[in-house]
């Protein structure tokens, strides 16, 4: 518990973690507000009869960039090397002399990242669905029992994505590459999505599968996947990557 408290304290005292959290809430809610108001325009012009069933959810799939940053910087901050003039030190030496058991340290770090990501996902989901409601007013899709399951899927997707980002960064020990790749894939060009056009196997990549937990029908779908299957596929990715990261972390020189 002490180690978990220390890891949580590390995370919340890191400015880039706060930027990540702000992005996690603002990105999906602002985009949702914009898309919802353009949907409202379309409805009032008579071009559409109702907002799409995925309104808000698509934006939350985007907002996962917040926890990607969180997962990456939570780990990369340990390996950030000071300039030679400041002594060239790294925080990982302090972390490991305070908590020499590497497995305990890593478990605590991942738990802290998972907990913060889950909380962030809940706040972001509330903010995003709230923004949709405000923007669409009476035209907002009604939230029902089904949405509880979908929103739980969002939280699960965010936590898993944060853990994958964390695991990849443990392997690279550097934040730039995982950050660039993962953020680009989520926001600018979804390489994994384009891959699904080439091979149906790409639907089983962690992000493509994980999204099914709350958006069962992806545009131009070639493969049917239930939310449960999507969740299980992403779980498989997480349970495959994290032990690899843990073995690397415990075996190599710090």
């Amino acid at each position: 518990m002490r180690v978990l408290a220390a890891e949580a304290s590390k995370l919340v005292s890191l400015p880039s973690a706060w930027i990540a959290m702000a992005a996690g809430v603002l990105v999906p809610s602002v985009i949702a507000a914009i898309t919802a108001s353009s949907a409202l325009d379309a409805i009032s012009r008579g071009a559409k009869t109702a907002a799409g069933v995925d309104t808000g959810y698509q934006e939350l799939a985007f907002g996962v960039v917040g926890v990607i940053v969180l997962g990456v910087v939570g780990v990369s901050s340990e390996y950030f090397t000071e300039s030679a003039e400041s002594g060239g030190g790294r925080q990982i030496t302090t972390s490991l002399t305070a908590v020499p058991s590497r497995l305990r340290l890593l478990l605590a770090k991942m738990s802290a990242i998972a907990v913060v990501s889950a909380l962030l996902a809940i706040v972001a989901a509330a903010a995003t669905m709230g923004a949709v409601r405000v923007a669409l007013g009476e035209h907002a899709p009604a939230l029902g029992a089904e949405d509880i399951a979908r929103l739980a899927g969002v939280v699960c997707y965010w936590v898993y994505t944060a853990l994958l980002a964390c695991g990849v960064t443990v392997l690279t020990r550097h934040g730039v590459v995982p950050l660039a790749l993962l953020i680009t894939n989520t926001s600018v060009v979804s390489v994994t999505y384009l891959l699904t056009k080439i091979t149906t196997l790409a639907n089983y990549l962690p992000d493509m599968a994980g999204v099914r937990m709350f958006i069962p029908k992806l545009g131009g779908d070639s493969v049917e996947m239930s939310p449960l299957t999507g969740g299980l596929v992403m779980t498989a990715w997480v349970t495959a990557l994290l032990p690899i990261a843990a073995i690397a972390f415990t075996r190599r020189d710090a």
Partner: protein
């Protein structure tokens, strides 16, 4: 009180021999200076001692156990390695707080060690704005949090101004006088002659001399002369 015992440490990285059978002891009540040129293997030895790097063979023990198996490491060994050991975006106080939290130490202890190392006024500044000397003081503050009976310090006087060096010397002498073990590495001889009791000199991954300050200085005029005679292939 714990003795640091290093025995026959070998470290190979690829085809490079970093350490080839390093062994020595650091005893309670004494300041042991681990001296050698840059790249001689000082930091590698200390990193293995602290469980950060893995030795190819050999042992490094605190008392009778390896560092990684200490039940309460922060209260047993205070360690300071390169720089401040803190992330630059955090404040000095925030850094010490998470370290304290990891060992269940009270928050008040953070302010105490900040006071001891003279960083109270800079505690709310981000570490990125610290000078090299301030960073070293922060590193020492973290090492002192658990009031450990053993200190392991890599190049503690590096980057300190003359006043800081003097302060460090007095501080370490007091720690040793109270019966604690102090092991420090340095490549600066002049600053150390007045600080250390025992001297271990390492060169190219091998201990070339080990004894009390008087024994090592021997017939040489100063420790520095002895050091250069030992490390540059001179006579002995």
């Amino acid at each position: 009180m714990s003795v640091i015992t290093i025995e026959n440490l070998v470290k190979r990285r690829g085809s490079a021999d970093i350490l080839t059978g390093v062994g020595f002891q650091a005893r309670p009540g004494r300041v042991t200076g681990f001296l050698g040129p840059n790249g001689a293997g000082k930091s590698s030895t200390l990193r293995i001692l602290l469980g950060l790097d893995r030795a190819t063979s050999g042992t490094a023990l605190i008392g009778s156990v390896p560092f990684v198996r200490l039940p309460d490491p922060l209260r047993t060994v205070g360690a300071m390695l390169d720089g401040s050991g803190a992330h630059r975006a955090r404040t000095g106080r925030a850094h010490l707080r998470w370290v304290a939290r990891s060992a269940g130490l009270p928050r008040a202890r953070v302010d105490e060690v900040l006071e001891v190392v003279g960083l109270t006024n800079a505690a709310s500044k981000r570490v990125g704005g610290y000078s090299l000397g301030m960073g070293r003081r922060l590193g020492l503050a973290a090492a002192l949090l658990g009031d450990p009976e053993t200190l392991v310090l890599d190049e503690p006087v590096n980057g300190l101004d003359p006043e800081g060096i003097r302060w460090m010397r007095t501080f370490l002498r007091e720690r040793a006088a109270s019966g604690r073990t102090v092991l420090l590495s340095s490549h600066l001889m002049g600053e150390l002659a007045e600080t250390v009791d025992d001297v271990v000199i390492i060169n190219r991954g091998r201990v070339v001399a080990d004894g009390t300050l008087e024994e090592i200085t021997g017939s040489h005029r100063t420790l520095e002369d002895a050091y250069f005679a030992l490390t540059t292939g001179g006579a002995r």
